[in-house]
């Protein structure tokens, strides 16, 4: 019996390790290869990116063995032969367009993050503290809206942007982002768990509504606010759909969209840019993993 259990545990651990390797692999490769020199990257991956008519290469050609198959081997490298920061140096000091795109991402994400949470705090307070039939219905509407895919929500957003003349400006992405119901949902779920006794005590002392909100509810929500902020940040840092539809000027694209349009001639830089782009996310993750997990746990289940 005991032996069987130990064997089971060893197999379990093996499976865990196998999955762990698969999960880590892409991230590690990207980070590791960002330290390769341009020549080394071209030697290993050059074949993949050299096709000139890149917009056509996925068109299926009838002759399967077309001539572009070269003998040069492409192999994914986990350990650069020589560690160099030359790619980073080029990205940071010689080709400013990547930093501009990074800055575009920041300009889009930060206002959404700050204002979505501010707006959501008020709404969640209202949903948590004053309940009634109409409010439950409104909250239900928020949940439906939260779960709608972009195929649905981007159409109204686009129309509004067109009416307001904000197409091709960041307002067309920031404004809908600010009113996106995700934070409201999570914060309401948390606020509904705050015991009534806290509020009643404050009311006895004659606290105003604003004081109950700002001195009791918001401080109690601190942890949840961090969780929500992380989830919102990750979501918008990753954005692809909105810029593609709202922005016609590719100079305004955030790095998330621009990354896959890196010039074929600059493939050497791709890994460094990709790494720079994921660094804020990884840092946040390493410092705030528990908050992230808590936020996800809160998002599970629709009822508070």
């Amino acid at each position: 019996m005991r032996k069987k259990k130990t064997a089971g545990r060893i197999i379990g651990t093996m499976i865990c390790i196998a999955f762990a390797l698969i999960f880590l692999y892409p991230t590690i490769v990207t980070l590791a290869d960002s330290f390769m020199s341009q020549t080394e990257i071209m030697a290993h991956y050059g074949n993949v990116f050299k096709d000139d008519n890149n917009s056509e290469w996925w068109n299926y050609s009838s002759d399967k063995k077309d001539t572009t198959y070269k003998n040069d081997k492409v192999q994914i490298i986990l350990r650069p032969a020589r560690v160099t920061f030359s790619q980073y140096f080029t990205v940071l000091f010689k080709s400013p367009e990547y930093l501009f795109k990074f800055w575009n991402s920041v300009k889009l994400v930060v206002p959404i993050l700050v204002f979505q949470i501010l707006v959501a705090l008020g709404a969640s307070y209202s949903f948590a503290r004053f309940r009634g039939r109409v409010k439950e219905l409104a909250f239900f509407l928020y949940i439906i809206l939260m779960l709608m895919p972009y195929q649905v929500t981007l159409v109204p957003n686009f129309m509004v942007a067109k009416w307001m003349g904000t197409l091709n400006t960041y307002w067309s992405i920031i404004l809908p982002g600010v009113f996106s119901p995700f934070s409201v949902f999570i914060l309401t779920k948390f606020m509904r768990r705050i015991p009534r006794a806290y509020v009643e005590a404050a009311e006895m002392d004659g606290a105003s509504e604003w004081n109950i909100f700002s001195k009791i509810y918001v401080p109690l929500c601190k942890g949840t606010i961090v969780s929500v902020a992380i989830l919102v940040f990750i979501d918008y840092w990753n954005m692809v759909e909105q810029p593609l539809i709202m922005l016609s000027d590719t100079d305004k694209y955030p790095l998330s969209v621009f990354l896959n349009q890196i010039n074929k001639g600059e493939v050497g830089l791709a890994f460094a840019v990709a790494s720079i782009y994921m660094i804020p996310c990884i840092l946040i993750f390493l410092y705030c993993e528990e908050y992230l997990v808590e936020g996800i746990t809160y998002s599970g289940g629709l009822k508070g």
């Binding site: 999955f19 993949v48 994914i76 649905v152 990753n238 896959n260 890994f271 599970g300």
Partner: protein, 297 residues
Amino acid sequence: MVVRIMNVEKKKKLLKITKSISFLAPSGLGVLAFFIIPFLVIVYYSIIDNPIQTNFVGVKNYVQLAHNQAFLQALGNTFRFSVIAVPLAVILPLLLAMLLDCRIPGKSIFRTIYISPLVVPVASVVLVWQVMFDKNGALNSIIKGMGADPVNWMDSVYNQFIVLSLFLWKNLGYNMILFMAGLGDIPMELIEVAKLENASSWQIFWKIKIRYLSSTVFFVMIISLINSFKIFREVYLLTGGYPYGNIYYLQHFMNNQFEKLDYSKISTAAVIMSIFMVIIIGLLFIVEDKFGKEVEE
């Protein structure tokens, strides 16, 4: 006297409503302005011929869309993707959560690793997938090295599985956390008692754990279904704007209509999609209600 009390009550209620509305106002007005009202306009657009002439055409747009080849293909591809992706997105994370629930050494490290893809932008790692599956890529190098014919992965039926691998890589961690939370909610006493009564671990798994997890399983299923409808970002980053064949999904269709500025098509498609989503979400609510009660009893 009675009248005065009534007035005070009324005043209190009115005050409460005022407070309630004023806290909700910023968010509520924004939601109305950017989502609800324009959505109603879209419903209107879907039943007129075009926004300039505004002739009422009834369900004509819907019928046209139902015969549109590109739309049908996108719809079919999206559904096929969901059918493959959702079961995997439920079973694999459940397995991982169960494994981590057993006393595996280094549990917290494994958890960290499994959820790390959640935070890594797809745009950053997509290069690895490209290098791997390009027709001149690493996988084909290996295949050629073994003397077989290379496969043009991204242009073959395999492309949807490549997209699937990226989708699963990104989403498993999220679902796993939901399952871990669900497992954590199972009362320990129940399992202890079952063990004392010589229940096999198989019985404990099916009769206790799965029963308690049923609402989580269902929730994860629906969320994964919704996430699988959203599949686009991964494909776009892998292949660019216009993929062919198997991986032309609903969002691609929408993007193409946006480019053509075909308002009636975009609006009609959005309305159809939203009706469909409301049905799924309604189902989620009903089942959550039912399962929630079952476990409480």
